[in-house]
């Protein structure tokens, strides 16, 4: 085992503190008895029950999570396929495809949001809805997933797959048992990115959400004018807590499977071997 590098570990701690500082402040102020979100007045648990009575806030959270779920699943699948293709397949117009991947990212959100508004209205007479919102979110997430997967897949040794084929595996088999596990970190990373993007999206959502499909960012942003109440802090705290628990559980379950595939597919991951 490598000896721990003390400086690096200390640095890591500092970075984690930096990342969590605003979150700690956020959680702390969810117990603030003042409506104003930046002046500490006193401790109270009241905001939590209040928030559960706020029908619109809960609806917004529900929509946000559902849209994010759909967006993550679909964009991760499509983005992974695309990323793989760009990394491994030689085809005509590849450069164009690569650029196509970049363009959604450079497009100002207002243009993306309005263009979808106009498009859906012109094509389907759509006026904003859950479905429209989900489609919009998927669209801007694909590029991010594809780029991350591409980076990892491009660095992968193609010989491994070839070896599997030589040994009689089908194309799909080689993909499933060799390629997929090797790019899995990238897929997970892409999915995480997509979730963060979708969950927080404001501009594109503004123009594509319809009546009854308002999301949490819209809800919060609209409170900007009158001051963000600690209710919002409370819901954010709950979301962080739930996510943390869910992720922990998923990770523990996953770890078991990981151990088995590690031996087969990741010889490089064992440190210390010459």
């Amino acid at each position: 085992m490598k000896p721990r590098n003390r400086w690096l570990s200390a640095y890591a701690v500092v970075v984690y503190v930096f990342l969590f500082a605003p979150i700690v402040v956020l959680i702390l102020f969810s117990f603030n008895s003042s409506r104003a979100n930046f002046q500490w007045e006193g401790f109270t648990l009241d905001w939590y029950p209040t928030l559960f009575k706020n029908r619109r806030l809960l609806d917004a959270v529900s929509v946000t999570l559902r849209v994010a779920l759909v967006a993550v699943v679909v964009s991760t699948v499509i983005g992974t396929l695309l990323g793989l293709a760009l990394a491994r397949v030689r085809f005509r117009g590849r450069a164009a495809a690569e650029t196509l991947l970049l363009v959604p990212m450079v497009t100002p959100e207002i243009i993306m949001g309005l263009s979808l508004l106009v498009f859906f209205f012109a094509a389907f007479g759509g006026r904003g809805s859950f479905g429209q919102l989900a489609l919009a979110h998927i669209t801007f997430c694909i590029s991010y997933v594809a780029i991350v997967v591409r980076a990892r897949a491009a660095g992968m040794n193609p010989q491994l797959e070839e070896a599997a084929r030589d040994l009689g595996a089908s194309a799909f088999g080689a993909f499933r048992y060799i390629t997929l596990p090797l790019i899995r970190p990238a897929i997970v990373s892409g999915a995480l990115l997509a979730f963060a993007l979708s969950f927080d999206d404001y501009v594109v959502t503004t123009f594509n959400a319809g009546v009854g499909s308002s999301t949490l960012p819209l809800f919060i942003y609209s409170k900007v004018k009158f001051g963000v109440t600690p209710e919002i802090n409370a819901i954010s705290t709950i979301i962080v807590a739930v996510t943390a628990v869910a992720v922990l559980v998923a990770w523990r379950l996953n770890r078991r499977r990981d151990d088995e595939t590690l031996v087969v597919a990741e010889p490089e991951a064992e440190p210390g071997r010459p």
């Binding site: 490598k2 721990r4 590098n5 690096l8 570990s9 640095y11 890591a12 984690y16 605003p22 979150i23 402040v25 956020l26 979100n37 499509i78 695309l82 293709a85 491994r88 397949v89 085809f91 196509l100 970049l102 363009v103 990212m105 450079v106 497009t107 100002p108 959100e109 207002i110 243009i111 993306m112 309005l114 263009s115 979808l116 106009v118 498009f119 669209t139 780029i147 990892r152 491009a154 660095g155 040794n157 193609p158 010989q159 797959e161 194309a171 970190p185 990373s189 995480l192 990115l193 963060a196 927080d200 404001y202 960012p217 954010s236 979301i239 992720v247 922990l248 990770w251 490089e268 440190p271």
Partner: protein, 316 residues
């Protein structure tokens, strides 16, 4: 050289040789293992390309057409006389300061994100052990709260009677609060914070697949720690660095929320101007033109910037 790194950057005509391969085939041919037959290629490509074509290219093309139009009566869009007028107006030098602001912030954010993100990604990969994924997810955890709220939280930390100033005054470093909020500093801090996971994730992905045996080999061959890093680790993780740069720089140029909340009187960005033209000015054609110019600039700038990076890495 002993090692030719694989290139995972953009617009490569073909992926470079794998690292194991390179040792045996210095300067030699590039071996490619094409993924199966056309059917497989189709399955991989079609969903993504088709989706982007339908839900991205077509809608944006519609707005692109609008950019050649003009604002009609009652703020409608008139496509009667298509012209380049809006683009000419978009080149107005009055936008230069805001454009420079955007570029400055995006560049600073990207550099800082890379500088901060690389060591942490390295740490997670090398020392995370079994908890690697967990540590990575903990990095992402803050980003599943609302972006707006997190940015507000920075206000609480940075304002005149906020956390930082209170501490500084309590320990006697200063008697008057230092103006931290509504400055370039607060904007860059906020943006870096916001985009850090966008940098850490691809960096991690790339660093993680680095074979530590290679570094060990370099050390065995009498390379110093620093040399091993510069000539082995860094080039081999370049795909990740490039991906991280792209995923940070590009959205950063379009970010107007952070400068809006944490910025002050002199921190307006071009993204906000575009937004304003659409919404407050109700001039969609003009806004579209400025928006597309911005896109062109960003895309061109990014491709230009990546080019030298890849060349420096060697081989291509």
């Amino acid at each position: 050289m002993a090692v030719e790194p694989p290139i995972g950057g953009l617009a490569t005509p073909a992926p470079g040789p794998s690292d194991i391969d390179a040792a045996a085939a210095a300067g030699g041919g590039r071996r490619r293992a094409p993924i199966g037959n056309r059917l497989v290629s189709g399955i991989l490509l079609v969903p993504g390309i088709a989706w982007l074509l339908v839900f991205f290219v077509v809608p944006v093309a519609m707005i692109f057409v609008v950019s050649f139009g003009s604002r009609g009566p009652l703020d409608s869009i008139s496509l009667e006389h298509l012209s380049l007028d809006n683009y000419r107006r978009a080149l107005d030098p009055v936008f230069l300061p805001t454009l420079l602001n955007s570029l400055r912030y995006a560049a600073a954010t990207t550099i800082l994100s890379l500088a901060i993100g690389y060591p942490i990604a390295y740490w997670i990969s090398r020392y995370g052990g079994r908890n690697k994924t967990l540590l990575l997810i903990i990095v992402m955890l803050p980003f599943w709260t609302s972006y707006l709220i997190r940015t507000y939280a920075w206000q609480i930390v940075l304002r005149d009677n906020g956390v930082v100033n209170s501490i500084l005054m309590a320990i006697g470093v200063t008697s008057e609060p230092i103006i931290l909020l509504n400055t370039d500093f607060s904007v860059i801090l906020g943006m870096t914070y916001g985009f850090l996971p966008f940098a850490i994730l691809p960096l991690y992905v790339s660093i993680d697949r680095l074979d530590p045996a290679l570094v060990a080999a370099a050390r065995d061959l009498y390379a110093s720690g620093r040399a091993a890093f510069l000539h082995v680790t860094l080039p081999l993780t370049m795909p990740g660095i490039i991906a991280a740069s792209i995923l940070t720089f590009i959205p950063a140029i379009g970010d107007f929320v952070t400068p809006d909340i944490l910025g002050g009187s002199e921190t307006t960005t071009i993204a906000k101007v575009v937004q304003e033209l659409f919404l407050q000015g109700r001039d969609w054609p003009y806004g579209a033109a400025l928006g597309f110019m911005l896109m062109l600039l960003t895309l061109g700038g990014t491709l230009l910037a990546i080019g030298p990076l890849r060349r420096e890495v060697g081989g291509l």
